[in-house]
């Protein structure tokens, strides 16, 4: 199944899914204040957030006035275009000119960082790249074991230290190893941490500093992994992680449930961080490039 199919099948599983709701709201209705309010509720129900919803809807209202729109169904197209505008252009992961390509993976607890790394590694090895994984989560019980199993599945190499050791030291060793072994990609896992814990955010900065000291243009990508069920707190997460590690993109996981992941729209709008990848299942192949056209289309088709 392609990304689009998976998204669509994920969405159709939903009992009260966004698409149906919007369809039923829009079908055969004339434009009215009530209609706009219903649309607003649907956007809020998708975790897009009050502020972003209000702004998007304000633009929709404005355009409806200017373009003298009468039919409810025409509003759909306008709403779709407005959301599409916020999401912006498609941005995929792009390898740098030199190897190894160093990718650091960060996020709060339980969003699926390790699984994401496993899938990413599998994708790169399938492309014929040599991949090294660094077990930088030295805190959570058995985190390194979990990554080791993914390394085996994806045929990647693994650099790990003992539980409780300094994650920056793991990153240091991993950069050396990736160079010496002429790896194409190095993916560094980090422990899940709440963005409100300043000491843990400092630790993250230190890991990044150590990487940059060894390889001045690295890490080339810092991916923030975010769970699609996340509510408005996602904005605060993105803000703090961005300040600490210059996040280059978001991986939106668990999109195969009923959650819409709308918070990424608010994040893009307020912080400019694009979504690069989406996770749509627990299987090794269940990761896809984020395609904004498909994303919006899947919401409205």
């Amino acid at each position: 199944m392609g990304f689009f199919d998976k998204l669509v099948s994920g969405l159709t599983k939903t009992r009260d899914n966004l698409v149906k709701q919007i369809k039923s709201v829009l079908s055969g209705k004339k434009i009215s204040e009530e209609l706009f309010e219903e649309l607003e509720e649907i956007l809020i129900g998708a975790d897009i957030g009050v502020t972003s919803t209000m702004e998007i809807m304000e633009n929709v209202r404005e355009r409806c006035r200017q373009e003298k729109v009468q039919e409810g169904s025409q509003v759909e197209k306008i709403l779709q275009e407005e959301i599409r505008k916020v999401i912006g252009e498609k941005t995929e992961l792009e390898p740098p000119a030199t190897t190894p390509w160093v990718i650091m993976v960060v996020g709060v607890n339980g969003v699926g960082k390790t699984t994401t790394i496993g899938k990413l590694a599998a994708r790169f090895t399938a492309e014929g790249k040599k991949v090294v994984l660094a077990a930088g989560d030295t805190f959570r019980a058995a985190a390194a074991e979990q990554l080791a199993i993914w390394a085996e599945r994806s045929k990647a190499q693994l650099i790990r230290h003992e539980e409780g050791s300094d994650p920056a030291a793991v990153a240091y060793d991993a950069v050396q190893a990736a160079r010496n072994r002429k790896a194409d990609v190095l993916i560094i896992d980090t422990a899940g941490r709440l963005h409100t814990k300043s000491n843990l955010m400092e630790e993250l900065k230190k890991i990044k500093r150590v990487i940059s000291r060894e390889m001045p243009d690295a890490p080339h990508d810092v991916l923030l992994v975010m769970d699609a069920t996340t509510g408005q707190n996602g904005l605060s997460q993105a803000k703090v992680f961005k300040e600490a590690t210059e996040v280059s993109g978001i991986v939106l996981t668990k999109l195969d449930g009923t959650a819409k992941g709308g918070i990424v729209i608010a994040i893009k709008r307020e912080l400019g961080i694009p979504v690069k990848l989406v996770g749509v299942g627990e299987g090794i192949d269940d990761m896809q490039n984020f395609n904004p056209d498909d994303f919006v289309e899947a919401l409205f088709s």
Partner: protein, 444 residues
């Protein structure tokens, strides 16, 4: 996006309305508009927001405005009371009356089931029972190993079997518990999506086979609008007995608590505040209500202060304040008590209006400064601490050298101390009049 304190916002809405009498529909509507936004920003599901504010509206219209409150405050009070009673209700105790009692942990991936199972086992062990953890997450790589490490850390046995299905592992685990005198069995299950029919059926099978007294749904406090779908599905299939909210140590306002409570009508039994294995706490509906409304978590901060400050010491301190012999030793003592309350930024999270400052104020710098103050005081002689006036230029130089600080730093400390003393004298006078138990003047 920083959310203003709801109370402040409402105050602005009503700034000119200082009146007594009954709440009018217009006033209630105006106030509820802000309440609605606050709840949505806090991730309360929009349908729940609707039904909830409707109820509040009906209750509030015509209600007498208390003498001490403005209409806005009166509405907030009604909202707060309603939230508290909605999330509270019947006593949320664990049912451990059977021997063995069986507890099953369920929830989405990444909610924190395994860590919470460990915390729960520890809590139960401290009550004098003999818990056994049974590892039934056979899907996630290294999940069993994680539970084993957790069990090891808290001194609780973990039962696991290679290559078996969850139902047979649980069966063998219960047999093992009976043979070895364990009287509470905690079954850790794999995280799963509520729309995954096959895996949901597996939970139903576990339930039918072993009839657990407790099925605890573990939910992440950061969950957004989808919380209602997930909780309702799990409850429909399993008729859960209670909820545990995790990751409460973050800054999410936790509206999911209200959504879940409203949709499944089951009690929230515990709240988890951290990754360390001792941090499972009883859920406090009143604190959650003020947190959801963005009014800070005053209850927790007061409790922390109470825990940290020895009452006798506090009484002595108050005594000193009024008699003017507050010295650097007491100042030092106060700093130690503050440290006991936890990291500054965590405390600030709980103070109403203070979470606004986060990001602006650098608390780690403040903590560094506190460390330096400590070092400086440590470099003084006991006599100097008791009589700071003694400290002249040459003593200052010695103290600076001894603490690795500069003379300016010593000066600054003495100046700060002088100011604190002044403030404390004022507070001391107040607290005597008002008969308050203690004051935290350093909080200024």
């Amino acid at each position: 996006m920083i959310f203003e304190n709801l109370a402040d916002k409402l105050q602005n809405t009503f700034n000119n309305l200082k009146r007594r009498g009954k709440l009018t529909e217009k006033e209630v509507e105006l106030a509820l508009k802000e309440v609605r936004l606050a709840l949505l920003e806090a991730d309360v599901n929009h349908k729940v927001v609707k039904s909830f504010t409707e109820r509040v509206k009906n209750r509030a219209i015509g209600e007498e405005v208390l003498k001490s409150l403005t209409p806005a405050q009166q509405v907030v009070k009604i909202v707060y009371d309603e939230l508290t009673s909605l999330m509270g209700g019947s006593a949320a105790q664990l049912n451990l009356s059977y021997s063995p009692s069986i507890i099953m942990m369920v929830g989405l991936q990444g909610a924190g089931k395994t860590t919470t199972a460990g915390k729960l086992a520890r809590t139960i062990k401290e009550k004098g029972r003999r818990p056994l953890l049974v590892a039934c997450d056979v899907y996630r790589p290294a999940a069993v190993k994680q539970l084993q490490v957790v069990g090891n850390q808290i001194g609780v046995n973990v039962f696991s079997q290679e290559g078996q299905k969850p139902v047979s592992i649980a069966q063998a685990g219960i047999k093992y518990a009976n043979q070895n005198g364990f009287d509470v069995i905690i079954i850790d299950t794999a995280g799963r999506l509520h729309v995954d029919e096959e895996l949901m059926q597996e939970l139903v099978d576990l339930k039918t086979s072993f009839k657990p007294q407790e099925i605890l749904f573990v939910a992440d406090a950061m969950t957004g609008q989808d919380a209602v779908n997930v909780a309702a599905s799990f409850n429909e299939r399993l008729d859960i007995s209670g909820i545990i909210l995790t990751k409460m140590d973050g800054d999410a306002r936790g509206g999911a608590a209200l959504s879940i409570r409203e949709v499944v009508g089951k009690p929230i039994k515990f709240a988890a505040f951290g990754e360390k294995l001792d941090a499972l706490e009883i859920f406090h509906p009143d604190r959650m209500a003020s947190r959801i409304l963005g009014m800070g978590d005053l209850g927790t901060i007061l409790e922390k202060a109470q825990q940290a400050i020895d009452e006798k010491e506090a009484a002595q301190l108050v005594q000193k304040l009024t008699t003017d012999d507050f010295n650097l030793e007491d100042f030092y003592e106060q700093m130690q008590q503050m440290k006991k309350m936890g990291p500054l930024n965590q405390l600030m999270d709980m103070v109403p209006g203070m979470n606004k400052m986060k990001g602006q104020a650098d608390f780690s710098a403040a903590e560094k400064e506190m460390k330096q103050l400590e070092a400086i005081i440590n470099s003084m002689t006991p006599k100097e601490r008791r009589q700071p006036d003694l400290i002249d230029a040459s003593r200052k130089k010695r103290i600076a050298n001894g603490s690795g600080a500069r003379v300016q730093d010593v000066n600054r400390l003495l100046k700060q101390f002088g100011e604190t003393k002044k403030v404390m004298k004022q507070f001391g006078g107040l607290s005597q009049k008002g008969k308050k138990k203690f004051k935290m003047p350093f909080f200024n």
